[in-house]
Symmetry: C2
Subunit: 145 residues, 2 copies
Amino acid sequence: MSPLAPVCPLCAEDGGTVLWRNAQLRVIRVNDPDYPGFCRIVWQAHVREMSDLAPAERQQLMAAVFAVESVVRELFAPDKINLASFGNMVPHLHWHVIPRWRDDRHFPEPVWGQVQRPASPNRREIPDTVLGSALAAALGAPPQA
Amino acid sequence: MSPLAPVCPLCAEDGGTVLWRNAQLRVIRVNDPDYPGFCRIVWQAHVREMSDLAPAERQQLMAAVFAVESVVRELFAPDKINLASFGNMVPHLHWHVIPRWRDDRHFPEPVWGQVQRPASPNRREIPDTVLGSALAAALGAPPQA
């Protein structure tokens, strides 16, 4: 970005608790009690669209998204996984991996849709360290660990 | 699915105008005047999650998603592309590729979020035949053509 452009929040900050990272991407945990395994995979470079990446980079990013999906399914046992890359507010490539349950706040709407019920029951609590270890097993040890 | 399960609408019907298909997947156009290049990529087999596919199948599906993204960017010149795979209502793998404009009905919310303005201006009109030809150029000629 040019020095006069507004600072991109995903360039300036991690955007959440980092569970795994390498030079190309990072996996962060989203702090949302209704969706406890909600993770984002953020491409480290400021790139706008998937089709702006080289094919090998796309594959690398999607392999991480699907590895996170597998880990979240295994640890949180959701009824469904939702995947999305929007970037309307922050046009810096990032993927949402969201575990969904039939009785969660928005189901069957996307989590950006209308609230469907006042609250969701408590979900399985899994600490960052456990989720981080499962990600390291799926993605490989992070290079700086 | 078992004979007693409710019929899956994406197994029973195409789900829109088919622009391209092969044995593994089909690209359909979504009829939404606010989002004229809106396409869905539907996996032909009834599979629930990306992590239920074999790695080569995932790559094949995502390569189609990104090819559609490239074609939609080129033909419709949106400000942003939104990609999503939810399947909360129809748990049969399908990807949404949605062109977004800063002055569209929902921007910067996802199209499933709250309406932001009463209407959007008319967009570039591109017939199915033109969009289909561009997809065939990007994805290869469909096998049954």
